[in-house]
Symmetry: D2
Subunit: 350 residues, 4 copies
C-alpha cells in the first residue's frame, strides 16, 4: 500500500519536530509537506529549523523545502497541526475549509461544540462529530483535536476507573516538564534551582477538557461527564514527562486490587486494532513508592503509554495514585497521529 | 548580658551547619561546643566538616574542636540537635536526662506523648509540657521538638486560617527541595531532568504532625486538632525551599479578602516579643499567579517567614493557595532556635 | 553629603535589576531615573518589570515611573547602562553627547580607540582617556566601559600575576552561568541535562579585551599588552557565577608560594581608598581541589571578589588554576559602579 | 551459532546495569551470571538492584539470581567487570587466574605493564599482550582494560589526527556527566545550580592513559607515545555525555579541511569487520558553533561514536575543537564489549 501523504503545520517548532520524528518511518503516512511561518518559508528545512530533539533530524526531511502556512500550499489530504494558539485559531479552520483532514494539537478549537476532542482509547465515537462539523460549516475537511498534554495522561488513567467504578471527584497536582512550553519556552533562569507555578489557564484546561472527552456524544452534540476536577499545575526542571499526583473518589468503592485490575485489563480500540502507534498496554502499572519518575518512565510504550503507581488510600477522597506520561509524544504529536490512524482504519481518510 | 553557651549535636551535617550559620552572630547564644560522631570527634571542626552552605564557615568556628556526641562531653545548658533519626532516638533522651535543654530537629520524639512539638507562633503554650515531661521521666533537662520542614510551613499558613475560620480538610501536594534530605542525601542522578516521589513516611508526618501542633494542651496531655490532611510529597531539583500546593475547606466560609486579611494581620508571640529570630511579618502574601517560587521567595524574612500566594477558589474544597518556605532555616535549625529564644524570654532557660 | 542622582538605562532587564539592587542603599548614589524601551515607558516600574532577582524589589523603586531611553528624559549626571548591544551602539553616544557620564556594561564601545575599558583595580589610569574622548568627540559627557563578565574575572586573576611575573600565554576554558545571557536568555530546554558551547563572539571578547585592559595608556592612545589568550567558552546549568579553568605561562617563573603571595598581597586603588563597592581582599584564595564552586563561592566579597584555587603545575604552560566570579555583580553592574565610585573620588564626577 | 555465556561483575551498579542493557540482545554473548557483593548475593536481581537506566530492566534478567563476586561462582568464560576500584584491584586478577577472559572497566590495572589498555579502533594490536601476561603470570585467563571514559573519547578523536599529522601537545578541559561517578555518586546538592572541579586523579588518568593507548606494542612491552596532555576536569549537571574542549598542536600542520577529512575517513578494524557494537562512522563531525551538546549528541552511533565539532584555529596551539561522547556506553560498558567482540572475531575467545 502506498503511504498517505501528510503535511505538518508549524513544522519548525518543538512539537512540529516531534511530529517529524514520529512520522518519518510511519507505515501508513509519508511526510510530503512542511509548512511554517514567513521566517522559514522558502528555505530548506534543515537550514530553517533549530532541531532540539535528541534523535537526529532525518537527512531526507532536512532537504525538504519549507512552505508557507496557508491553504493552497499543500495537496496533502492529512495535516497535523503544531501551530501556536494564536495562529491555530484562524488558520486551522481555513485548512479544514479547503478540504484537509486536520489533526490539531493546538488549544483554540478543542472546546468548540462541533469539534471532537479525542483520546483514541477513550472516546473514539466522538470522531463521528466530524460529519456534523462538515455539514454545519460546509467544509470538505474537518478538525479533530487532541487534548492538552496534562489532560491526556490524566484522562488516560481515569478512564479505566470511570468504566469500572464511576469517577466522582478528582484532585490533581502536576509537575510538568519544560518541553510542554515549546522552544524557546521557559527561560533557564526560571527552572534552575526553581519550580514555577503554571498560569491558571492551564489549570482551567485540565479541569474542563476531561469532562468533554469522557462525556457522551449524543447524535449531534456532546454532553459533559458529571465529575469535578481541581487542578494545581506547576512547571519543574524536567525536559520531558509530566508527573501528576491524583486523589480520586468513586461512585462505587473499589479495593486496591480492583483498581490495579482495572488498569491492567484496559485494552481499547487502538490496542484491539493494533494501530501502528498504539501502546500495548496503554497503561503500565509500576511498583514501589518511588515510581513513576519522569526520566525513568517517560518512554514506556515508546512514549505512548501512561505509567501509574503509588496506589494508596486517600484521607479525603478514596484513593491516591501518581501517574507519568510523555508530554510531547502521547501528550501532543503522538496523540494526534493515533487519532489519524483510527480514521484511516475506519476508512474516513483514504 | 553575657551570651548563653550552646552546643550543637550533629554539627558536621547539613542542618548542623545551618545551626552554626544562624547562631554564629546570635545576640543571646554563643556556640561553645560542636559534637559529632567518632569519625569527626577529636578533629578541628574546619578539617572535619564538608561545608556545603553558600555563606562561608566562620573562622572562629572552624577552629573549635569537635567533641564526641555523648553526655558528659559538654557543659552547655542548651543543646540544638541536628542528629540523624537513628542516633537521635537514643542520644537525645540521654542528653535530656543529663540535664540539658535539648531542642531537636529530629523526628523520633516528635510524636511522644510528653514531648512538645512546637512552632513558636502556633502553640507556644505546648512548651509547658516540659514540666510534665521532667516529672514523668525524672529528668533535669527536657526535649522540645520542632516539626518536619514540610509540616512547619503548612501549619504556619494554616494557623491564621484555623484561628479565623476553622480548618476542616486539607489537601496538600509538595515540591520539596533536595537539602531536606541532608548531605550527601539525594543523588544527582535522581534529580537531574527528574523528580522523585517521596517515601510514604514523609506523607505520614505531614498528615499527623499538624494535628498535634494545632491541637490543645490540656494540663498534662495533648488533644489532636480535629481536621484531616491528605498529602502527596515529591522531591524536585531545587536546593532550598519547599513549595506546597494546598486546597482547604473551612467550617466558616471566608471570602478571598478575609483570607488575605487573616494572613497579613497574623502577629503572634514571637512577633509581639520581637524575638531575635522572629520574622515580621510571619506570613508574606505575594501577588501574581507565578509566585511564590523557591529561588525568589525562600529568603523572605531571612528564611524564617512563610510565603503565600495564588489564592483562588477550589472546585472541591473551598480555597486553593500555594505556599513556600525555607526548609533548612525556618523548617529546621531556625525553628529550633526560635523555640529556644521564647524559653529564654520566659525565663525557663537562663 | 547629599547623594548623586543616577539613572539606569535598560532598567527592566536582568542587569538593570542588578544595578538597582546594588545602588538602592548606595552611600554616594541615589537612583532617580529608570529608563527603558517603549514597551515599559510610562508605566510604574513595579508593574513593568519581571523581577528575577532573589532579593526583593525595593518598594520605593517599584513606585518610580519608567522613562523612555532617550536623551532629555533624565537630568541625572551619572547614567549606568544595561542596554542590550543593539540599542547601546546608538544610544550610549547620544547620552554622552548630551553631557552624561555614562558607565556602560554593553559591548559595542568597549574596543573603541578612545573609550576606556576599565577594571578599577587593574587600569584606573585608563580613565584619563575620557578627556581625549571628550575633546575628540566634542562631548560634555563621556563613556566608560567595563569588561565582559568572563574577561573581568580572568583579568582580575591575571593582573597580580602580570605585575609580579609577566604573563606570556593564557589558555582558558569557561563554564559560564545562565544569567550572563540576561532574561529570558537561554531556554531551559538547552540547559537541563545539558551544556551549550558559547558562540565564537564570546571567545573573541575574552581573547581581545584583556589585552586592552592590561595594556598601556600612552598620552592619547592605548597600547595592547603583549600576551596571547586562547579561550573555549561554554554555558552550563548555573544561575550565577562564571567558572574558568586557566593555564598560564610567565616571563619569570614563579613558585606556587610566590603565586599565592601575589594573589593575597594584591591590594589596589579601590582597596586602598576603601571605595564603597570595593572588595577587600579583591582576590580570595581557597584551598582544596574541589573549590572554587559557583554556588559556594560566587558571593565572596559580596559578589565583587574573584576566587582562585586549584593552583597546580601545567604540563604545557607553567601553572594551572581555577577561578570563579559573580558574573552579574562584579562581572557587570558592580564593575560599572566601582568605576563610577573612583571617578567620584577623583572629583571627575561631582 | 550458540551465544557465548558471559558474566557481569558489579552487576548491580550503574555500569553493571549498562552492561546488561547492552548485552541483553547481543548477537554473540548471552548473560548467564550476575555477580555482586554480599549485600545482593543470593537475591533475585530484580529485587537487589536499584535500576537507574531509562530503558526498562529486561524481565528475564530480573529473574536471574545474584551470585557472590568470587572465583568459582561462575563458569562463564567471558566476564565483564564493572567493579569499583577498591574491589577490582584484588578480585580481577583472581578471576583471570581462575581462567576467565576478563574485560575490565575499572582503573587499578589499566597502567599495569602487561595489561593491554585498549580502544578497539586505536590499538587492537595491544591485545596481543595478553599472551605475555598469561605467560608471565601463569594465568589461563587474562585482563584487558578499557580506558577512563574521558580518555576514551579524547583518544578516539586524537587518533585519526595522530595518524595523519602527528599529535604534539594537547590541552583539554572537560565538562563531565554525573553518571561517570556511578550511583549514588555525586550528591544533588553538589550539582544543582553548580559545577564541581574533578579530583586531580581524574586529570592524571586523562594525561597518562592516552600515551599508553596511542603508544607502541613492542614484542613484550609498551612504549608510550611521545606527546603531552594538560587536562582540566570538571563535573557538570548532565546525566550522560562527556564534553571536552580541546586545543592541539601537530608535527605536520593540517588545514581545517584536512582535519575534517581525517575524521570522516577514519575507518578502523571494528568498522571494517562490522563488529556488532562498532559505530560506523566511529567519528561524527557536526556543523555549527553550538554543537556538539550532551543531550542532543550523546546517542550518536547508539552511544558508541565520538562527536566532533567547532573546529577552529587556536591562538596558542594549532587547532581547537570540541568533542562529545557517551561516558557509560562507549566510555565504559560498550568499550569493554567491543574489545571482547574483536577477540571473539580473532578466535582468541571461543
Amino acid at each position: 500500500m502506498s503511504r498517505i501523504p501528510v503535511g505538518i503545520l508549524g513544522a519548525t517548532g518543538a512539537v512540529g519536530q516531534r511530529f517529524i520524528s514520529l512520522l518519518h518511518h510511519h507505515p501508513w503516512f509519508e511526510i510530503t509537506d512542511l509548512l511554517a511561518s514567513e521566517r522559514s518559508a522558502g528555505r530548506r528545512y534543515g537550514d530553517a529549523v533549530n532541531w532540539v530533539l535528541d534523535s537526529p533530524l532525518p537527512p531526507a526531511i532536512a532537504d525538504l523545502p519549507v512552505k508557507l502556512t496557508q491553504p493552497g500550499e499543500t495537496d496533502a489530504r492529512v495535516l497535523f497541526s503544531a501551530l501556536p494558539s494564536g495562529q491555530a485559531r484562524e488558520l486551522e479552520p481555513a485548512f479544514a475549509a479547503a478540504g484537509h483532514a486536520l489533526f490539531s494539537n493546538a488549544s483554540p478549537h478543542r472546546m468548540d461544540a462541533d469539534v471532537p476532542l479525542v483520546i483514541t482509547e477513550v472516546n473514539p465515537d466522538h470522531l463521528d462529530m466530524v460529519r456534523v462539523q462538515q455539514r454545519q460549516r460546509g467544509w470538505d475537511g474537518f478538525i479533530v483535536c487532541n487534548a492538552n498534554c496534562t489532560t491526556t495522561h490524566l484522562v488516560a488513567a481515569l478512564h479505566p476507573l470511570e468504566l469500572a467504578f464511576g469517577v466522582e471527584k478528582v484532585f490533581v497536582a502536576t509537575l510538568q516538564a519544560a518541553s510542554g512550553a515549546g522552544y524557546p519556552g521557559v527561560p533557564a533562569l526560571d527552572l534552575i534551582d526553581n519550580v514555577v507555578p503554571h498560569d491558571y489557564g492551564e489549570e482551567h484546561k485540565v479541569e474542563t477538557e476531561p469532562r468533554k472527552i469522557m462525556g457522551r456524544f449524543d447524535a449531534d452534540h456532546f454532553v459533559d461527564a458529571d465529575f469535578t476536577i481541581s487542578a494545581h499545575c506547576h512547571r519543574v526542571p524536567v525536559i520531558d514527562g509530566h508527573f501528576e499526583a491524583v486523589s480520586v473518589s468513586f461512585r462505587s468503592k473499589p479495593s486496591r486490587e480492583e483498581m490495579i485490575e482495572a488498569f491492567v485489563s484496559y485494552r481499547q480500540l487502538p490496542q484491539q486494532l493494533a494501530l501502528p502507534s498504539a501502546p500495548d498496554p496503554a497503561i503500565v502499572v509500576v511498583e514501589g513508592m518511588f515510581r513513576p519518575q519522569p526520566r525513568l518512565d517517560r518512554m514506556a510504550g515508546a512514549g505512548m503509554a501512561t505509567v501509574v503507581g503509588r496506589i494508596r488510600p486517600c484521607n479525603i477522597l478514596d484513593w491516591r495514585f501518581s501517574l507519568l506520561g510523555h508530554n510531547t509524544i502521547r501528550g501532543a504529536a503522538g496523540g494526534s497521529i493515533l487519532n489519524a490512524e483510527l480514521m484511516v482504519h475506519q476508512g474516513i481518510i483514504a
